[in-house]
Amino acid sequence: MLVLSEEELREWVRRVSRLALIEIRPEEESSLINDFKRIIEFFNKLQEVNVEGVEPLFMVPKEEIIVRNDVVGKCLNREEFMVNVKERINGYVKGPKIV
């Protein structure tokens, strides 16, 4: 069983918020921690199941894998797919500074 202390939960919420790039406002924190605690407890129910030797199933298996032929086809033109871009620079998407 994975049971986390209040402090561990708080620490964990901060870590996950950084990984997911979602800021948690101070006033949201305590209700979020409470929700997490209960959701994780609900997930812990799975620890009761014996899954030794079971292969995980990530996708429902299919007999055939469909792969498209690698040929040039029609696709959206630049103006069409740039229609939702709000900040551009020389026809490119402008992003924040990385370094």
Binding site: F36, F42, L46, V60, V83, N84, E87, K94, P96
Partner: protein, 489 residues
């Protein structure tokens, strides 16, 4: 007044094309009247535009070139992209998003001469079971406007149930087509994973997402499935195995009847199922037995674990899928000037996502993170394998697994949303089909105090021909659908 169905309107319009204009006028009149109360739509196309589309269809009908869905006035869930028509996912993140292309299902509807009326409300990014989690407004249930219509495809179900469209498309990751169908007395089908293309469906949990029709009858459902099912080069998981003409199968089921071996999993009708629902379900089973169906009961302990397994997998996949929203290429935007990438992305994501979406991304990030992956995501995926194996085994011995679609009557607004676990609990009957990739349909089976109840039928992979045939026969025995609340007529 008799409730019109997609099938009846299509047939009528074939001989009298001009009627299409009248149907459109009637639908817009009704939308003006009921929409202020129900709020099924997020975006409604201007009537003039729709009438222009109708002119083209009427011409085609007259020259005999019309497609299979000429006359179909459809509503599309707002997580399925429509070229040039705003698609929001009911999120602030995408509130101004204009897709530059159509989803494959939309292309197929349009090339068969269906006409889109609008885009329907939903739980944000399809995360929810009540359609209260919309960034715009909640949708109300036309059978009792103090109650939720189910979700996440609540707008699509209400549009059909309240006669604001003839048919609609929803998406179903853990029951999002079947739940609102059950709560609004409509028919909702989640096809086998891989029967219908997901190209253009905004992803929630890709290994379980599937687009499905919501209609007023089983034959209508078959009409839509017939057009949207089938291989698509743009979705590698869509193998689209199609073994029949679905509409022919349905007609055969209604005319000749069909015998089938049904099985009930005890764990699906015990914990958390309201006594009135269980009693109604048993009454339905007796009616079916009286019409030649056999019903067996079995116990499958593993089913008790389907809900946590589902939520671990769904949240894990969601956290990965929703990582794409950074506000640069589309969606809510924040100026990049003078800020680091971390600041820009965090700002956009914190402002753009609603509470439940954030919760699922954060928990999903946790179950995938180093140190916890084995205990949660990997373990859930192993439980998923066991569930699928057990269900496949049952379906070798029986034709269909049946259950109530929802364990409760439609809750009042605000009743479930306050507590995430109470909200997740109502998906207990529906998630198994998504975990196992199986097709499942909800057929209206009863009314309790004027509130709709649905009956769920789950079949083997790619058994939609047989599933729809049996569903049509069951519908003809139960005689609940097609129906609509009298105040909307």
């Amino acid at each position: 007044m008799e409730v019109p169905t997609l099938a009846s309107v299509i047939e009528e319009i074939r001989s009298r094309p001009k009627l299409l204009t009248e149907y459109i006028e009637e639908i817009y009149e009704r939308i003006n009247r009921v929409e202020p109360i129900l709020r099924a739509y997020i975006t409604i196309r201007p009537k003039e535009e729709v009438l222009r589309d109708a002119k083209v269809v009427i011409e085609k009908l007259r020259s005999g070139e019309a497609g299979k869905l000429a006359g179909a006035l459809v509503a599309i869930k707002d997580n399925i992209v429509t070229k040039g028509l705003r698609t929001t996912c009911a999120s602030r993140m995408l509130k101004d998003f204009i897709p530059p292309y159509n989803a494959t299902v939309v292309e197929r509807l349009l090339s068969n001469d269906a006409i889109i009326i609008g885009k329907t409300n939903m739980d944000e990014f399809a995360m929810g079971s009540t359609t209260e989690n919309s960034a715009f407004y909640p949708t109300r249930n036309p059978w009792d406007t103090n109650r939720v219509p189910g979700g996440s495809s609540g707008g699509s179900a209400v549009a059909v149930s309240a006669l604001e469209a003839l048919a609609s498309l929803g998406s179903d990751t853990g029951g999002s087509v079947r739940a609102p169908a059950a709560f609004t007395a409509t028919v909702g089908l989640k096809p086998t994973y891989g029967l219908v293309s997901r190209y253009g469906l905004i992803a929630y949990a890709s290994s379980m997402d599937q687009i499905g029709p919501i209609c007023r009858s089983v034959v209508d459902t078959a009409l839509i499935l017939d057009v949207i099912a089938g291989k698509d080069g743009k979705d590698a998981t869509c193998i689209g195995v199609r073994k029949c003409n679905y509409v022919d199968e349905v007609r055969e089921g209604i005319n000749d009847g069909v015998k089938a071996k049904l099985v009930v999993i005890e764990e699906m009708v015990s914990e958390g199922v309201e006594p009135v629902i269980k009693a109604s379900f048993e009454r339905t089973l007796r009616k079916l037995e009286a019409n030649g169906f056999s019903v067996s009961w079995v116990s499958e302990q593993i089913i008790k674990y389907s809900l946590p397994a589902y939520y671990i997998i769904a949240m894990g996949e969601a956290s990965s899928n929703l990582a794409r929203y950074d506000g640069l290429r589309y969606g809510l935007h924040h100026s990049v000037e003078g800020l680091s990438w971390y600041e820009v992305f965090s700002k956009v994501r914190s402002e753009g996502f609603g509470r439940e979406v954030k919760r699922r991304i954060l928990v999903g990030t946790y179950v995938l993170s180093a140190g916890y992956y084995d205990a949660y995501y990997l373990r859930a995926s192993k439980v998923r394998r066991v569930i699928r194996d057990r269900l496949k085994d049952l379906l070798r011995r029986y034709d269909f697994i049946v259950s109530p679609t929802m364990p409760v009557l439609p809750p009042k607004l605000g009743e479930r949303i306050v507590d995430p676990l109470k909200l997740y609990a109502i998906d207990v009957e529906t998630v198994v089909a998504n975990l196992a990739g199986l097709p499942a349909i909800s057929v209206p089976s009863d009314f309790i105090s004027n509130l709709p109840v649905g009956f769920q039928i789950m079949g083997d992979e790619f058994s939609e021909c047989y599933l729809l045939k049996v569903s049509a026969f069951i519908e003809s025995i139960l005689k609940v659908s097609p129906t609509a609340p009298s105040w909307v007529m």
